[in-house]
Amino acid sequence: MKILVANRGEIAVRVLRACREMGVGSVAVYSECDRTAPHVRMADHAVELGPGPPGESYLHIERVLAAATAAEATAVHPGYGFLAENPTFARAVVDAGLTFIGPDADVIETMGGKTAARRAAIDAGVPVVPGTEALNSSLSEEELRARTDEVGYPLFIKAVAGGGGRGMRRVDTSDGVVSAVASARSEAETAFGDGSVYLERLVEKARHIEVQVLGDTHGTVVPFVERECSIQRRHQKVIEESPSVAVTLEVRRALADAAVALSSAVSYVGAGTLEFLLDRDGQFYFLEMNTRLQVEHPVTEMVSGIDLVHWQIRIAQGERLTIDPERALTPVGHAIESRVYAEDPDRGFLPSPGLITSLRSPSGPGIRDDGGVEAGFEVPVFYDSMISKVIAWAPDREAAIIRMDRALREYEIGGLITVIPALLWILEQEDFAAGEFDTGYLDRALTKRAGESFSVLSQREEELAVVAAALLAYFSSGERAPEPPVVSTASAWRQAARSEAVRER
């Protein structure tokens, strides 16, 4: 098997490491601006896709397939994001005679549509949030009100093709229903080219709990201990952990049973994740299924000792799952993941791409750093702002939090602004330490701060900053010759290559 990894950044690095560990051949793909990215050098072969914008590179199906042909790949691992949940891509991979490392294209299609996934869950006997299927666009105002009254308030109007909160409206009473449905429809039409919407009751103070599964081609599905992903900023996960302090053994079993029932019903193959809302009474509701590897998969690996990417590849080779189900459901210790985004928490989490001048990742006992960048690399403006994930494992949750704090302080990223100061602040919160939070917790806590800086200095720190600034200025003013302009290696090489080309003409 020779695997083409149709992705970039930390997840490409993660999958390529597994390929090396398993002695499987590998092919990296990259866009122009990723020429110097680490994943290019961690593969046996590397093929350029095209210019930086995703539509011309990582999202360009024909170019990815042409790269597979050029490097004689026999399988494709999509990672997450980009083409990972695109059924057209999965189908095209198989049609080209390659193995797609993931579920069947039809399963991606079914589980990718929110109402179709809901229907599959209901059929499998898995509880879903009370709601409706796609609303008929010809409903009268009275009929519409009857439907919303039936679901109950508060409720969400959601786009069938939705994602990222677009085409989504919250309605608290029957008064605003008609106009809210109309505006959700038009927003969904603009964003996704599909104006259909459905209704879903709002589960208040709910946690986001998800269950990892692995399914093989022989009909076996293994569920894992849950992940807790409630620490989110604007629906984007920031800190995840496993296990969840809110899940009892009984609920864990019930979640696992539900995950197996639904996965088996759709003959799920590969790694997948079922997302649930968990309310304060321990009742859970299926939300959606992600038919791919998730960003936060390492926390599951840390508490189970099972390598999920190895298993994705073994399953794709037709192997039978031989994981002991009890082991997968019984966490050893506690693991937490922090996502390190290149965003400025002191400026409303403004994206902050740029050149990394120096980098030292945290390490030592219990720490895993899944990164995709290094010193000298210019973080491009075109892609997601996540540059790495720090995962801390310890025998218990309290020790894992302490260890995460230590690791984040150890992280030195020169030149680039990241969310690390905000991550440290979250770790310090009493509610976080007590495990008292729901999916709205972080947004509420951030609103309460009212923009206060995450790097407010103590007197000692302020003194240190004065000393450091003066000394840095002292050294740089001592260098008589003007400093050479700082350019990334990518542009330097490109510049050199261009001059060469000009000379040859």
Partner: protein, 192 residues
């Protein structure tokens, strides 16, 4: 890699602004190769002296051992984000500071033009939409352009009320951080 001893020379003075407070800081080399950093604290008016054993690491970061603070050991990254603006990183914190060399202070940032407020890109990215045209009357805080980076769209607000006097970008343009997108005339009266 250059250590402190290599670049030891005379004393030098800088104006250092941290946490919105400015102070005159003097760096004086000692005979043992260490550097003394002294200033007057702007709040307490107390004279502060810190003697540092300083080494520049291969990464460009500074390793400091402060002799008069129980040999406190620190590692600090510094990165110039604009002329005279440094982004410091230590112990999980990120701090923007300003440093002006006393001799070069006059040539600091170009003085802003009276009555003109440039609207600049907060980060590098792509202009998705320009929301105002020349001659438009705009309010302070009104969104004038949308810049996209890292899959996120950010509205760039007007820094002041006035009339748009120049639009320097169009949809689809790539811009660097700090690039002027539009200019708002703040002294113009709305008498058209």
């Amino acid at each position: 890699m250059s250590s402190a001893t290599e670049s030891v020379r005379g004393r030098a003075r800088f104006e250092v602004e941290v946490a919105g407070r400015s102070r005159q800081v003097e760096v004086t080399p000692a005979e043992d190769g260490r550097l003394a950093v002294t200033w007057v604290d702007p709040v307490t008016a107390i004279h502060v002296t810190r003697v540092a054993d300083v080494t520049r690491l291969a990464s460009g970061a500074l390793s400091l051992v402060l002799g008069d603070s129980g040999h406190a050991s620190h590692e600090i990254t510094g990165h110039e984000t604009a002329p005279g603006a440094l982004l410091l990183g230590f112990d999980g914190r990120r701090v923007q500071v300003r440093v002006a060399d006393q001799r070069r202070r006059k040539s600091a940032a170009a003085a802003p033009v009276e009555g003109e407020a440039p609207v600049t890109a907060p980060m590098p990215g792509k202009v998705v939409r320009v929301l105002a045209a020349i001659g438009d009357t705009v309010e302070e805080g009104q969104g004038l352009a949308v810049v996209e980076a890292m899959k996120m769209e950010n509205e760039v607000p007007s820094p002041a009320a006035g009339i748009v006097s120049d639009v320097r970008v169009t949809d689809g343009d790539s811009v660097d951080a700090g690039a002027v997108l539009l200019v708002v005339r703040t002294d113009a009266e709305g008498d058209d």
